[in-house]
């Protein structure tokens, strides 16, 4: 069977190690901030970081593999949303390439752009595979908008937007502040840091 060309050892060992750590950050950071009781899960912090530091392809791969591994570790339901996670990484990488992570305000705009693309991919999956319901707290928003007389599509769009907006903007801001704070020694090994932030 054909193998994707992009995987043929195009990544340096720094990028590989970076992706591996980013996958773990995606899985674990949510637990760290759970004590703040915010509607923020930060499950794409690593994906967005890799997008900024190593480009859209590496970012997309990080998101994809995170959700596939999640399927192995906790529940296969997570694997169904792997395309969503992949798109987040690709878009974050493209935002960084076009200079949208240079300042705090631009990072917020990147967060908004990521939310939009997140919705474009997540809404069809949620709608056709899950009938609009995923068994999480966000379902209350869907129920509320349905009760207001919206159709299922409209309700799911509103749900995905509102439940992701704060999370994605917060993640983009955190990623920006972290890239800014990178020690010089590490930054030098990741060639894209300078072009993404200055």
């Amino acid at each position: 069977m054909a193998r994707p060309e992009i995987l043929k050892s195009k990544f340096s060992s720094v990028t590989l190690a970076l992706i591996a750590f980013a996958i773990v950050l995606n899985m674990a950071t949510g637990q760290l901030v759970s004590l703040l009781k915010l509607p923020i899960f930060l499950d794409s912090i690593g994906t967005i970081l890799v997008g900024i530091l190593a480009g859209p392809i590496a970012g997309g791969l990080t998101g994809l593999l995170t959700n596939l591994l999640w399927g192995l570790i906790s529940s296969p339901v997570a694997a169904a949303f792997a395309p969503v996670a992949m798109v987040i990484g690709v878009i974050a990488g493209l935002c960084a390439r076009y200079g949208l992570f240079k300042t705090c305000w631009l990072a917020i705009i990147s967060g908004l752009i990521i939310t939009v693309f997140n919705a474009i991919v997540a809404v069809p999956i949620r709608l056709y595979m899950f009938g609009g319901i995923t068994g999480s707290g966000a379902d209350f928003i869907t129920a509320y908008t349905l009760a207001l007389g919206k159709d299922l599509f409209g309700s799911v769009v509103i749900t995905v937007f509102t439940s992701n907006l704060l999370d994605k903007v917060a993640t983009a801001l955190l990623a920006w502040s972290i890239v800014k704070a990178l020690p010089e020694r590490t930054a030098n090994r990741l060639s894209r840091v300078k072009s993404a932030t200055t």
């Binding site: 590989l16 399927g71 570790i73």
Partner: protein, 264 residues
Amino acid sequence: MPQPEKQSGNATLFIAGKSWLHRLHPFNKLLYILLTGVIIYAGPKGWPVEVFLITLNGIMALTGGVFTAAWRLLWRSLLPLTLFMITIHGFLHADNRIILFSFGRLHFYQEGFVFAINVLLQLNAVLTASLLFVFCTHPADLISAISQAGWPPSLAYLLSSPLLLLPLMHTRIRTIQAAQRSRGLDSEGNFFKRFLALFPLVTPLVLGALVEMEQRSIALEIRGFNAPGPTTSWRTIADSTGQQAARWTMFFLIILLIIGRIFR
């Protein structure tokens, strides 16, 4: 004080066993998930197909000795979903016409109920197929199969390394939480204060991980990870012509079903 990390040889859902499902080549099980998904979402519609697939998966789980585990996980992940799905669609689905029963002014409708049951059956079929893979495939087997099939070792590294790093990261998370609490991090204040508290919590975790990442990458380099030439593997995955034939059959079935869907 942070708890010492438990020995987590069981980081994934894998259940040790010697059944035929465990011995099956990982790619066969993966393709079976794909095939199930394609049958459900692109193949013939209707509940008989879904019920047939769920029963088939149930029988396979029984013969593989993972039925109770699969049953438990299904309940855990589908129970909240079922409750939300049936109530929300039963009461609020846009096509609702025929009333099944009423609580005062609240009416529960047939159309929403049928829609919910249908979605749940479809999900159940795909989920049970993927559980067969998840419960009966050791992650190391999957990774060895990937490298034996000639895929780049970087992919195998990216799938295996996070599984080993995860317990380390959990230990570090508990340390950071304890440290930031003891220096008076405000985790009870208003929304904006809690939002700002994100930064002192997340930054040390990520920066620490990035510095460690650098060391790991040096370790990869000095072990010749990107070296050209053939590599050998300690673990070999049994494969047979029969299994290869089964793989190709499933592959062509998937292609046929997709083509059939496009031209319908």
